[in-house]
Symmetry: C2
Subunit: 324 residues, 2 copies
């Protein structure tokens, strides 16, 4: 029997930025009581407005019984999170600051409350280094926006208990997430390593004038990226092999892997490269603010996930993770 609560009612969120706010919305949609703490009062106020703006999006995804913005409480001190059932931590990516925060948890947050970090870069072993209640800490790394994109990577640190890692896996899975539980810590986890390799090459191409940011985006969204919502790169290449599948594909195209197509070290982030990236994005934004593009992304994401969920259901494939 786990010492962690199985039937979560109250979720604590640390940090009210893009990711923390996104998690708060996810749990509000699922009918939870959500307390959000951010040391910056202005961040909390911004999030309150954002929550109201985004509520119609959550309604489109479908609200759980009892889900309401009334269940959101903004709090001004960490102490006020002491009565929640689980905490999702989204503090800035600053290792020292995170270590200090986790040491504070020891005295402020009861040991029966699992603490999950959204960190995209640090190993839990490092984050929990100064924490004496490290056994209840774990990484749960989401993708933006956490209120829609289902994937989460779960991995414990050296001092995390097996119990907490299993609990977090179960907790997310029950709450609409598609989880991979990793057996060991790998820098960047899985998806960010894959993304980062692609991103590095994209920056090189822009730096060398081989492609503009608009061309990078067009090449992905009308090409390989169009397929990747349906199947990942492995199964995609399995099909590229024709009837021979992955075996044929590896035997046929394997040697071309050795060709030094792509640059290996990251390019220097010069002023020039920085400007090209920013200008390219501004061109694509075409006068639209981030909020407006977010609305477009969310609208299309929901429609696409509904298509995938419907297909899965019609074909006896079970439930699509995000559509709870």
């Amino acid at each position: 029997m786990s010492k962690f609560k199985e039937d979560v009612e109250k979720v604590g969120i640390i940090g009210a930025g893009v990711i923390g706010g996104g998690w708060a919305l996810h749990f509000l949609r699922l009918g939870k009581q959500v307390k959000v703490w951010d040391p910056a009062a202005i961040a909390l106020e911004k999030f309150r407005k954002q929550a109201t703006d985004l509520w119609p999006t959550l309604e489109q995804m479908g609200l759980a019984p009892g889900a309401s913005l009334q269940n959101l409480t903004l709090v001004s001190s960490l102490e006020e999170l002491e009565d929640v059932d689980v905490i999702q931590e989204n503090a800035p990516e600053d290792l020292e600051a995170k270590q200090a925060l986790y040491a504070t948890f020891d005295s402020v947050i009861p040991d029966s409350v699992p603490i999950i970090s959204s960190t995209s870069g640090f190993a839990m072993t490092d984050i929990q280094a100064r924490c004496t209640t490290a056994a209840r800490t774990c990484v749960g790394h989401p993708f933006n926006p956490p209120y829609l994109v289902p994937f989460v990577e779960v991995v414990g640190g050296e001092h995390s208990s097996r119990e907490v890692v299993d609990w977090v896996d179960r907790f997310y899975t029950l709450h609409g997430k598609q989880v991979i539980k990793m057996e060991r810590e790998v820098p960047g986890f899985i998806a960010n390593r894959l993304q980062e390799a692609l991103w590095r090459e994209a920056l090189h191409m822009v730096a060398n004038g081989e492609a503009t940011p608009e061309e990078i985006d067009t090449s992905i969204k009308y090409g390989p990226g169009l397929r990747w919502a349906i199947m990942g790169p492995c199964l995609t290449f399995h099909l590229a092999g024709g009837e021979g599948g992955m075996a044929h594909m590896l035997d046929h195209f394997g040697p071309s892997l050795e060709a030094p197509w792509t640059r290996l070290k990251a390019p220097e982030l010069t002023e020039d490269l920085r400007s090209r990236m920013i200008e390219g994005c501004e061109k694509m934004a075409n006068g639209r603010g981030v909020e407006e593009i977010v609305r477009e992304r969310d609208e299309c994401l929901i429609r696409i996930m509904k298509v995938l969920a419907e297909y899965k259901k019609q074909n006896g494939g079970g439930q699509y993770a995000a559509v709870v």
Copy 2:
């Protein structure tokens, strides 16, 4: 005035495999007369069956007036392609064989017929090296399946005329493709460089036991890949930067680019790695043959493209490339 025909009626296809067959279906859907030549009679017969099987998929995408399987002719010699308006070449990725084929074009195919290569790996400058009518040759690199995925990369070789490159760009754009016309030859063009960087890291992770092929695919299709049908990596990161957009993102996460997360050289394709990749795909295929997975992919692709097309239309964004 271009010497190439603007109003294409007859398309010649060389090679009846996954890509050649896919192009043939694309042009059949758009109401063209299509002649397919493959030196292997069995490949032609296989394609005839495949065309019949896939016709309902094309119907779902929407047929142009006059589109019919009756417009498909399978031919047993290259000479029979002499009366087409354009040729899409999909011979195996063997540079010497392609060079020999392009030299043959000189005497067999009138110089007023543009010849486009689907090559994913070679530069047109190399392919056209032994061809005296090189001015009418050009690369048009598609993504699988060409009868659905809209993206094509267009780039000429050293001896390609500006005229043919512009013509191919126009031809594809008029025929439902989203084109990037590249100003210079870059090995792997754009999207394959990006894909390859990601794929190399995926192979490393499988080789090192850090992730299985199933985990790689899950991490992409429920994570970053879910977003990439809507917006590419640049605009995605623009949103990750919050209100500060790409500028904030680069300034904040730029330094982490330097972290040596991902392995840089391709892993050796050992027997063990080969087996893991194949077994992983077989597990995901779960007894389904390639044909069945293709059906699933196509069905979902069409539904997703219709969602994106509808969104674009509703919001005054014009037409989505593939939905002609």
